[in-house]
């Protein structure tokens, strides 16, 4: 069964460093998402991406964040200068199109900023 894969599964980084989280969505999917879950809290929407541009972003997704689909298969989330409060689980998701379809979530990247 096709699945969304995320790498790495766990990343530790120093405060102020840049990190790139990687996702490979399901191949025929057109919509891509990043969500975030701070430890012990609920999962929150960060950004959606369609047709090589951001469709919607939350107020969490400030100028420190960016997304890219660099090569037609990967979908990346970059945090330019990490803060302690960026420590969280980050989930990538994809779906075929934006209507009444199931979203498939990856198993997450745990980011720890020290």
């Amino acid at each position: 069964e096709p699945e969304v894969t995320q790498t790495p599964s766990h990343q530790v980084t120093q405060m102020g460093q840049e990190v790139i989280l990687r996702c490979v969505p399901i191949s025929n999917h057109l919509y891509f998402y990043w969500y975030r879950q701070i430890l012990g809290q609920k999962v929150e929407f960060l950004v959606s991406f369609y047709n090589n541009e951001i469709s919607e972003k939350s107020e969490i997704f400030d100028d420190q964040f960016s997304v890219e689909r660099p090569d037609g298969s990967n979908f990346t989330l970059k945090i330019r200068s990490t803060k302690l409060e960026d420590s969280a689980m980050y989930f990538c998701a994809s779906r075929t199109y934006g209507g009444a379809t199931e979203a498939f979530f990856g198993q997450g990247t745990r980011l720890t900023v020290v």
Binding site: K42, F45, E56, A93, G99, F105, R110
Partner: protein, 108 residues
């Protein structure tokens, strides 16, 4: 925006017991999914169920969209069912709003 509430917040069961988890949402939705977050933090898709009933092994789910709730049934629970169960809904825009979760612990 839409509010998603789950109950109970915490649940402890003996292995073999059955349980019902509930998800209430404050407005009509186009999509609804249930997820299991295991103790390692991984999010597992359980059901895509904007309406109707589905079953998958010991798990089943029902969504009554007109009454704005969904139920997840777990029968003959096992220790591997432990974790947090989330429902997530979409209304209008193509992004999920997650509920607060039900933390389940199944004791051997």
């Amino acid at each position: 925006g839409i509010q998603v509430e789950q109950s109970p917040p915490d649940l402890i069961l003996q292995e073999g017991a059955n349980s019902t988890l509930r998800c209430n949402f404050s407005d009509s939705v186009n999509n609804l999914q249930w997820f299991h977050q295991n103790p390692w933090g991984q999010l597992i898709n359980l059901f895509y169920i904007p309406s109707g009933t589905k079953q998958n092994g010991r798990l089943s789910a029902t969504t009554v969209a007109t009454e704005r709730y969904s139920l997840l049934y777990i029968s003959s629970s096992q220790t591997t069912d432990s974790g947090v169960y989330f429902c997530a809904v979409e209304r209008g825009t193509y992004k999920y709003i997650f509920g607060t979760g039900t933390r389940l612990k199944v004791l051997a």
